[in-house]
Protein backbone atom coordinates (compact mmCIF):
# COMPACT_ATOMS: atom_id res chain seq x y z
CA UNK A 1 0.00 0.00 0.00
CA UNK A 2 2.74 2.38 1.03
CA UNK A 3 4.56 1.72 -2.26
CA UNK A 4 1.44 2.20 -4.36
CA UNK A 5 0.76 5.53 -2.65
CA UNK A 6 4.36 6.63 -3.10
CA UNK A 7 4.25 5.68 -6.77
CA UNK A 8 1.05 7.62 -7.33
CA UNK A 9 2.30 10.67 -5.49
CA UNK A 10 5.66 10.66 -7.31
CA UNK A 11 4.10 10.36 -10.74
CA UNK A 12 1.50 13.06 -10.09
CA UNK A 13 4.08 15.40 -8.53
CA UNK A 14 6.51 14.94 -11.45
CA UNK A 15 3.74 15.75 -13.88
CA UNK A 16 2.82 18.82 -11.86
CA UNK A 17 -0.62 17.67 -10.77
CA UNK A 18 0.30 17.63 -7.09
CA UNK A 19 2.44 19.62 -4.71
CA UNK A 20 3.75 17.37 -1.92
CA UNK A 21 3.93 20.35 0.46
CA UNK A 22 0.24 21.04 -0.11
CA UNK A 23 -0.53 17.42 0.76
CA UNK A 24 1.31 17.80 4.05
CA UNK A 25 -0.74 20.89 4.83
CA UNK A 26 -3.99 19.07 4.17
CA UNK A 27 -2.95 16.17 6.39
CA UNK A 28 -1.83 18.46 9.17
CA UNK A 29 -5.11 20.35 9.07
CA UNK A 30 -7.17 17.18 9.30
CA UNK A 31 -5.04 15.72 12.05
CA UNK A 32 -4.91 18.79 14.24
CA UNK A 33 -7.33 21.55 13.31
CA UNK A 34 -10.38 19.96 11.78
CA UNK A 35 -12.49 17.77 13.97
CA UNK A 36 -15.79 17.47 15.81
CA UNK A 37 -14.97 20.61 17.81
CA UNK A 38 -15.81 22.61 14.65
CA UNK A 39 -19.32 21.18 14.57
CA UNK A 40 -19.65 21.45 18.34
CA UNK A 41 -19.13 25.20 18.20
CA UNK A 42 -21.82 25.51 15.54
CA UNK A 43 -24.27 23.50 17.64
CA UNK A 44 -23.52 25.47 20.81
CA UNK A 45 -24.06 28.72 18.93
CA UNK A 46 -27.38 27.46 17.61
CA UNK A 47 -28.44 26.56 21.16
CA UNK A 48 -27.77 30.09 22.42
CA UNK A 49 -28.53 32.26 19.40
CA UNK A 50 -32.06 31.76 17.97
CA UNK A 51 -31.34 33.93 14.92
CA UNK A 52 -28.28 31.86 14.07
CA UNK A 53 -30.23 28.65 14.60
CA UNK A 54 -32.86 29.88 12.19
CA UNK A 55 -30.21 30.66 9.56
CA UNK A 56 -28.52 27.30 10.17
CA UNK A 57 -31.71 25.36 9.58
CA UNK A 58 -32.57 27.47 6.54
CA UNK A 59 -29.18 27.15 4.83
CA UNK A 60 -26.38 25.58 6.82
CA UNK A 61 -23.79 26.15 4.09
CA UNK A 62 -24.31 29.90 4.29
CA UNK A 63 -24.64 29.97 8.08
CA UNK A 64 -21.32 28.19 8.70
CA UNK A 65 -19.59 30.14 5.95
CA UNK A 66 -20.47 33.33 7.82
CA UNK A 67 -18.50 31.90 10.76
CA UNK A 68 -15.46 31.34 8.59
CA UNK A 69 -15.96 27.70 7.72
CA UNK A 70 -15.43 27.64 4.00
CA UNK A 71 -16.23 24.19 2.70
CA UNK A 72 -13.42 22.84 0.55
CA UNK A 73 -15.62 19.90 -0.25
CA UNK A 74 -17.75 22.31 -2.25
CA UNK A 75 -21.03 20.69 -1.37
CA UNK A 76 -24.21 21.61 0.39
CA UNK A 77 -24.53 21.28 4.14
CA UNK A 78 -27.94 20.71 5.67
CA UNK A 79 -28.64 20.91 9.40
CA UNK A 80 -31.46 18.78 10.82
CA UNK A 81 -32.82 19.46 14.28
CA UNK A 82 -33.56 16.84 16.90
CA UNK A 83 -36.63 17.48 19.01
CA UNK A 84 -38.81 15.51 21.37
CA UNK A 85 -40.87 14.51 18.30
CA UNK A 86 -38.11 13.77 15.76
CA UNK A 87 -34.69 12.18 16.05
CA UNK A 88 -32.40 12.41 13.02
CA UNK A 89 -29.64 9.96 12.15
CA UNK A 90 -27.20 10.29 9.24
CA UNK A 91 -25.73 7.57 7.04
CA UNK A 92 -24.11 7.28 3.64
CA UNK A 93 -25.38 4.09 2.09
CA UNK A 94 -23.15 4.41 -0.97
CA UNK A 95 -19.75 5.08 0.57
CA UNK A 96 -18.86 7.55 3.27
CA UNK A 97 -20.08 11.04 2.43
CA UNK A 98 -19.69 13.01 5.62
CA UNK A 99 -19.44 16.69 6.67
CA UNK A 100 -15.65 16.61 6.99
CA UNK A 101 -15.29 20.32 7.68
CA UNK A 102 -17.66 20.07 10.63
CA UNK A 103 -16.75 16.67 12.09
CA UNK A 104 -13.31 15.76 10.77
CA UNK A 105 -12.97 12.39 9.11
CA UNK A 106 -15.62 9.75 9.62
CA UNK A 107 -15.17 7.09 12.29
CA UNK A 108 -14.53 3.51 11.19
CA UNK A 109 -18.03 2.31 11.98
CA UNK A 110 -19.58 5.02 9.78
CA UNK A 111 -17.77 3.47 6.81
CA UNK A 112 -18.70 -0.11 7.69
CA UNK A 113 -21.18 -2.17 5.70
CA UNK A 114 -23.32 -3.07 8.77
CA UNK A 115 -23.85 0.58 9.67
CA UNK A 116 -24.52 1.60 6.07
CA UNK A 117 -27.10 -1.08 5.51
CA UNK A 118 -28.72 -1.48 8.93
CA UNK A 119 -29.28 2.21 9.59
CA UNK A 120 -31.79 2.41 6.78
CA UNK A 121 -33.57 -0.84 7.62
CA UNK A 122 -33.48 -0.71 11.39
CA UNK A 123 -32.48 2.72 12.71
CA UNK A 124 -33.84 2.01 16.20
CA UNK A 125 -31.80 -1.18 16.37
CA UNK A 126 -28.66 0.73 15.40
CA UNK A 127 -29.46 3.42 17.97
CA UNK A 128 -29.87 0.68 20.59
CA UNK A 129 -26.40 -0.64 19.63
CA UNK A 130 -25.08 2.83 20.40
CA UNK A 131 -26.90 2.84 23.74
CA UNK A 132 -29.57 5.32 22.69
CA UNK A 133 -33.15 4.58 23.62
CA UNK A 134 -35.76 7.03 22.44
CA UNK A 135 -39.35 7.44 23.57
CA UNK A 136 -41.62 5.15 21.51
CA UNK A 137 -43.49 8.04 19.94
CA UNK A 138 -40.34 9.84 18.76
CA UNK A 139 -40.10 9.57 15.00
CA UNK A 140 -36.69 8.48 13.69
CA UNK A 141 -35.65 10.05 10.40
CA UNK A 142 -32.74 8.63 8.41
CA UNK A 143 -30.80 10.94 6.10
CA UNK A 144 -28.73 9.39 3.34
CA UNK A 145 -25.74 11.61 2.52
CA UNK A 146 -24.56 12.14 -1.00
CA UNK A 147 -21.60 13.88 -2.53
CA UNK A 148 -23.81 16.96 -2.99
CA UNK A 149 -25.62 17.07 0.33
CA UNK A 150 -24.18 16.27 3.72
CA UNK A 151 -25.97 16.47 7.02
CA UNK A 152 -25.22 17.84 10.44
CA UNK A 153 -27.54 16.80 13.24
CA UNK A 154 -28.42 19.55 15.70
CA UNK A 155 -28.86 17.56 18.92
CA UNK A 156 -31.24 18.58 21.71
CA UNK A 157 -29.76 20.87 24.32
CA UNK A 158 -29.46 18.99 27.61
CA UNK A 159 -31.52 20.25 30.55
CA UNK A 160 -29.79 21.99 33.43
CA UNK A 161 -27.62 24.09 31.14
CA UNK A 162 -29.53 27.37 31.36
CA UNK A 163 -27.26 30.39 31.20
CA UNK A 164 -24.21 28.37 30.06
CA UNK A 165 -21.72 30.01 27.72
CA UNK A 166 -21.21 28.74 24.18
CA UNK A 167 -17.76 27.47 25.11
CA UNK A 168 -19.12 25.44 28.02
CA UNK A 169 -22.04 24.12 25.98
CA UNK A 170 -19.73 23.06 23.13
CA UNK A 171 -18.04 20.63 25.51
CA UNK A 172 -21.31 18.70 25.74
CA UNK A 173 -21.55 18.28 21.98
CA UNK A 174 -19.83 15.03 21.08
CA UNK A 175 -19.24 13.73 17.57
CA UNK A 176 -21.88 10.98 17.68
CA UNK A 177 -24.55 13.46 18.75
CA UNK A 178 -23.97 15.33 15.48
CA UNK A 179 -24.30 12.12 13.43
CA UNK A 180 -27.39 11.14 15.37
CA UNK A 181 -25.98 7.93 16.84
CA UNK A 182 -25.71 9.64 20.20
CA UNK A 183 -27.14 12.42 22.31
CA UNK A 184 -25.42 15.49 23.67
CA UNK A 185 -23.63 14.69 26.92
CA UNK A 186 -25.42 15.50 30.16
CA UNK A 187 -23.92 18.27 32.33
CA UNK A 188 -21.25 16.78 34.56
CA UNK A 189 -20.72 13.86 32.22
CA UNK A 190 -19.01 15.67 29.38
CA UNK A 191 -16.73 13.30 27.54
Amino acid sequence: MQLRVRALETVLAEKGYLDPAALDQIIEAYETKIGPHNGARIVAKAWTDPAFKHRLLQDATEAVRALGHESRVGDHLTAVENTREVHNIVVCTLCSCYPWEMLGLPPVWYKSAPYRSRTVKDPRGVLADFGVTLPKDTEVRVWDSTAETRYLVLPMRPGGTEGWSEEKLAELVNRDSMIGTGLASQPGKAS
Binding site: A7, V73, G131, T133
Partner: protein
Protein backbone atom coordinates in the same frame (compact mmCIF):
# COMPACT_ATOMS: atom_id res chain seq x y z
CA UNK B 1 -35.34 11.95 25.15
CA UNK B 2 -34.24 8.81 26.92
CA UNK B 3 -31.36 8.95 29.34
CA UNK B 4 -28.04 7.57 28.19
CA UNK B 5 -25.15 6.39 30.31
CA UNK B 6 -21.99 6.81 28.20
CA UNK B 7 -20.14 3.94 29.88
CA UNK B 8 -23.06 1.56 29.35
CA UNK B 9 -23.37 2.74 25.77
CA UNK B 10 -19.74 1.99 25.15
CA UNK B 11 -20.01 -1.50 26.65
CA UNK B 12 -23.12 -2.20 24.60
CA UNK B 13 -21.56 -1.19 21.30
CA UNK B 14 -18.35 -3.04 22.08
CA UNK B 15 -20.47 -6.14 22.59
CA UNK B 16 -21.99 -5.80 19.15
CA UNK B 17 -19.26 -6.68 16.68
CA UNK B 18 -21.25 -5.77 13.60
CA UNK B 19 -20.61 -2.06 14.00
CA UNK B 20 -16.95 -1.35 14.70
CA UNK B 21 -16.39 1.69 16.89
CA UNK B 22 -13.38 3.83 17.41
CA UNK B 23 -12.22 6.52 19.76
CA UNK B 24 -12.28 10.13 18.65
CA UNK B 25 -8.53 9.99 18.23
CA UNK B 26 -6.30 10.10 15.16
CA UNK B 27 -8.18 9.00 12.10
CA UNK B 28 -5.40 7.54 10.00
CA UNK B 29 -4.01 4.16 11.00
CA UNK B 30 -0.98 4.44 8.76
CA UNK B 31 0.72 7.36 6.99
CA UNK B 32 -0.19 6.09 3.53
CA UNK B 33 -3.87 6.45 4.40
CA UNK B 34 -3.37 10.13 5.15
CA UNK B 35 -1.40 10.58 1.92
CA UNK B 36 -4.11 8.90 -0.13
CA UNK B 37 -6.79 11.00 1.53
CA UNK B 38 -4.92 14.24 0.91
CA UNK B 39 -4.23 13.34 -2.73
CA UNK B 40 -7.94 13.00 -3.43
CA UNK B 41 -8.64 16.41 -1.87
CA UNK B 42 -5.80 18.06 -3.76
CA UNK B 43 -6.82 16.55 -7.10
CA UNK B 44 -10.42 17.60 -6.53
CA UNK B 45 -9.29 21.16 -5.83
CA UNK B 46 -7.46 21.14 -9.15
CA UNK B 47 -10.74 20.15 -10.78
CA UNK B 48 -9.55 16.70 -11.85
CA UNK B 49 -12.85 15.20 -10.73
CA UNK B 50 -16.07 16.25 -9.02
CA UNK B 51 -17.24 14.87 -5.68
CA UNK B 52 -20.16 13.05 -7.29
CA UNK B 53 -17.66 11.37 -9.64
CA UNK B 54 -15.51 10.51 -6.66
CA UNK B 55 -18.43 9.12 -4.64
CA UNK B 56 -19.59 6.98 -7.56
CA UNK B 57 -16.11 5.55 -8.14
CA UNK B 58 -15.46 4.93 -4.45
CA UNK B 59 -18.89 3.35 -4.00
CA UNK B 60 -18.20 1.13 -6.97
CA UNK B 61 -14.82 0.04 -5.58
CA UNK B 62 -16.42 -0.77 -2.23
CA UNK B 63 -19.07 -2.88 -3.95
CA UNK B 64 -16.43 -4.68 -6.00
CA UNK B 65 -14.41 -5.46 -2.90
CA UNK B 66 -17.51 -6.73 -1.10
CA UNK B 67 -18.29 -9.01 -4.02
CA UNK B 68 -14.73 -10.29 -3.91
CA UNK B 69 -15.12 -11.19 -0.22
CA UNK B 70 -13.89 -8.08 1.59
CA UNK B 71 -15.59 -7.99 5.00
CA UNK B 72 -16.08 -4.23 4.49
CA UNK B 73 -15.89 -3.42 8.16
CA UNK B 74 -14.41 0.01 7.55
CA UNK B 75 -10.90 -1.24 8.37
CA UNK B 76 -10.07 -1.71 4.68
CA UNK B 77 -11.67 1.59 3.73
CA UNK B 78 -8.52 3.28 2.52
CA UNK B 79 -7.70 0.29 0.30
CA UNK B 80 -10.92 1.08 -1.55
CA UNK B 81 -10.01 4.75 -1.46
CA UNK B 82 -6.66 4.08 -3.11
CA UNK B 83 -8.26 1.81 -5.73
CA UNK B 84 -10.71 4.60 -6.58
CA UNK B 85 -7.90 7.13 -6.76
CA UNK B 86 -5.76 5.03 -9.11
CA UNK B 87 -8.77 4.32 -11.28
CA UNK B 88 -9.82 7.97 -11.62
CA UNK B 89 -6.26 9.09 -12.24
CA UNK B 90 -6.05 6.56 -15.10
CA UNK B 91 -9.51 7.37 -16.46
CA UNK B 92 -8.76 11.08 -16.47
CA UNK B 93 -5.51 10.51 -18.31
CA UNK B 94 -3.22 11.80 -15.55
CA UNK B 95 -1.19 8.63 -15.17
CA UNK B 96 -1.44 5.27 -16.85
CA UNK B 97 -1.54 2.12 -14.82
CA UNK B 98 1.67 0.91 -16.44
CA UNK B 99 3.46 4.07 -15.29
CA UNK B 100 2.20 3.62 -11.76
CA UNK B 101 3.37 -0.01 -11.79
CA UNK B 102 6.81 1.07 -13.02
CA UNK B 103 7.14 3.61 -10.20
CA UNK B 104 5.81 1.09 -7.71
CA UNK B 105 8.59 -1.34 -8.63
CA UNK B 106 11.17 1.43 -8.54
CA UNK B 107 10.11 2.40 -5.02
CA UNK B 108 10.21 -1.26 -4.07
CA UNK B 109 13.78 -1.47 -5.36
CA UNK B 110 14.76 1.75 -3.57
CA UNK B 111 13.32 0.41 -0.32
CA UNK B 112 15.31 -2.81 -0.73
CA UNK B 113 18.66 -1.11 -1.17
CA UNK B 114 18.16 1.56 1.51
CA UNK B 115 19.54 0.68 4.96
CA UNK B 116 16.95 0.51 7.71
CA UNK B 117 16.38 3.86 9.41
CA UNK B 118 17.53 5.92 6.41
CA UNK B 119 15.01 7.92 4.38
CA UNK B 120 14.20 6.15 1.12
CA UNK B 121 14.96 8.14 -2.02
CA UNK B 122 14.17 7.30 -5.59
CA UNK B 123 17.19 7.21 -7.95
CA UNK B 124 17.41 6.67 -11.70
CA UNK B 125 18.96 3.23 -11.20
CA UNK B 126 15.83 2.12 -9.33
CA UNK B 127 14.00 2.02 -12.65
CA UNK B 128 14.74 -1.30 -14.29
CA UNK B 129 12.97 -1.44 -17.62
Amino acid sequence: MGAIDPAAARRATEAVPSIPRDAEGPVFKEPWEAQAFAMALALHERGVFTWPEWATTLGDEIKRAQTAGDPDTGETYYHHWLNALERLVAEKGLAERATLARYHDAWDHAADRTPHGTPIELRPEDFRD
